[in-house]
């Protein structure tokens, strides 16, 4: 697997300082992300998963540590690194005054996709995500599920190598969630590496090649869902997670 190493996250620390206190959100996180895998970041609120995914997306800088892409620090040429990243935010921030296809065209232009390629790519993605019927509609009329589909389509306009999904199915109906899962699986089939931040353990179990459980700013466990279930002798990831929390509570009490 090491030959397919895409990103190497090395001892990332992140501290937030406010007027009243200092929060150590990440206390030295190291992990490798491999080409074509789906890696889920799990953890309770405040575990540090959104902070970590924001740092990997290059939205925020780490306080210390480094991220290597193909062996080179991303901070040496951040702009080039951003060209291979597709960031899909949690909030459906579609430009409401533009139609769906206009939104996609602009997403392509931001990443310097050639103009001739942009239209083809937008048509392809709208077809893939069942958005063709809404091509000329404004983004504001889309339902939650379609907005999320649109965000994914927008993220893929420049054919990124790594897609970072920040809680993509939060607040969606179960059948729409399932539908999006299939879309995310397809990304993997297309060779895209997916970093998924989620609260839903069933989602992580269904989609992930590996899950990374964060707790209080450190990696508690990182393994395949299958191995984790075997290790903890549980039939699903949710029970593994509950076991882990119990362990933590016992340690805290002790």
């Amino acid at each position: 697997m090491s030959s397919n190493l895409l990103l190497s996250i090395q001892n990332i620390k992140k501290t937030f300082t406010t007027n009243v206190k200092t929060i150590r959100a990440l206390k030295g996180v190291s992990l490798d992300i491999y080409q074509g895998e789906i890696l889920s970041l799990l953890g309770v609120n405040g575990a540090g998963k959104t902070t970590l995914s924001s740092i990997i997306s290059s939205l925020n800088p780490p306080t210390s540590g480094d991220i290597l892409y193909e062996g080179k620090s991303i901070y040496q040429d951040l702009i080039d690194y951003r060209r291979i990243i597709g960031f899909c935010p949690q909030k459906p921030n579609i430009d409401a005054m533009l139609s769906i296809e206009e939104n996609l065209y602009f997403a392509g232009r931001y990443f310097n996709v050639p103009e001739a390629e942009i239209k083809k790519r937008a048509q392809l993605l709208m077809k893939k995500f069942n958005l063709t019927q809404y091509a000329t509609s404004k983004g504001s009329i889309l339902s939650g599920g379609y907005k999320q589909r649109f965000l994914l389509a927008r993220t893929l306009m420049h054919q990124p190598k790594i897609v970072i999904l920040d809680e993509p199915t939060v607040g969606l109906d179960p059948h729409i969630r399932r539908n999006l899962w299939d879309v995310i699986k397809e990304l993997k089939n297309d060779g895209v590496t997916v970093l998924l931040t989620t609260h839903y353990l069933d989602e992580a179990e269904y989609l992930s090649d590996r899950v990374c459980i964060l707790d209080k700013g450190v990696i508690k466990l990182i393994d395949t869902p299958k191995n984790l279930k075997e290790t903890y002798n549980q039939d699903n990831l949710e029970n593994v997670f509950i076991e882990l929390i119990k362990e933590d509570a016992n340690i805290d009490e002790y």
């Binding site: 951003r82 005054m97 533009l98 232009r109 931001y110 990443f111």
Partner: protein, 262 residues
């Protein structure tokens, strides 16, 4: 780092904001027209009844209000910016684009400048229509007028990101209006040229040189009214460029710090 690609991304983002605004252009232009009609009606038809008979008063008012429209538009731009931070956070998507974050904020300033320029385009023709012969278009130094119009609105754009960077949330917007914009506007030569203030009270006039709005008012008015009454045109433009650089630097730094970006 490929500078040409960065430049293209910047322009694509700016073009997107222009396209978005153009879809609303007519509504914002109507806002500006309604505002100007009310002001010119009072200045041109009612004020003479109170003894203001200077033939240039209409032009003085028109140009002054044209100059100040961008200041009012700033409120809209600041509200949009803060609304986004508190709501959909489109800014997080833009910050993930292959552009340095400083250029994202500068693009926001340029987009804000475009919005105030575009929405005030109809004000001059309206002024001619309402003021008639008392507003002589041939008296305008057009090259200077166009330069001033662009520099003034760019200044407003950079001032927008500076102010927005320090405002915690939408609720604080009333504070911006009453504590920042209104004093700058009314003490900034909206109803008097700087030289007139200097004659009456030199000390206040000197303090007022720290108010960028004085350069906006005198600078734009000097392009359409007798120049000897106003501060020299190029001095005004120089000062506005100076203030733009200062506000853009401070605004970008503060936003980078506030949004914790690279």
């Amino acid at each position: 780092m490929n500078t040409k690609k960065i430049y293209k991304t910047f322009l694509a983002l700016l073009y997107k904001d222009i396209v978005v605004f153009n879809k609303r252009w007519i509504y914002r232009s109507i806002d500006a027209l309604v505002w100007m009609i009310a002001i010119l009606f009072v200045a041109h038809y009612i004020m003479p009844l109170f003894g203001i008979t200077d033939p240039n008063y209409g032009t003085f008012t028109l140009i002054g209000n044209l100059a100040v429209w961008g200041l009012l538009e700033m409120l809209t731009s600041i509200a949009m910016f803060l609304g986004d931070l508190q709501g959909d956070k489109a800014i997080t998507y833009y910050l993930s684009l292959p552009l340095p974050s400083s250029m994202i904020f500068i693009e926001q300033a340029c987009a804000s400048a475009y919005r105030s320029m575009a929405s005030s385009l109809l004000l001059l023709p309206l002024g001619k229509l309402m003021l008639g012969d008392s507003f002589v278009l041939s008296n305008i130094n057009w090259p200077h007028f166009i330069i001033a119009f662009c520099i003034i609105n760019l200044f407003y754009g950079f001032f927008t990101i500076f102010v927005a960077s320090y405002i915690p949330d939408l609720a604080a917007l009333t504070m911006v209006r009453s504590r920042i914009m209104f004093p700058l506007w009314f003490l900034g030569g909206f109803q008097f040229p700087w030289k007139m203030l200097y004659k009456v009270c030199p000390s206040i006039a000197y303090i007022n040189l720290c108010n960028p709005v004085i350069y906006i008012m005198d600078g734009l008015r000097s392009t359409a009214l007798p120049t000897e009454n106003y501060l020299p045109f190029w001095n005004c433009m120089g000062m506005l460029i100076f203030f733009s650089i200062i506000f853009s630097y401070l605004g970008v730094k503060k936003l980078q710090q506030r949004l914790d970006t690279l």
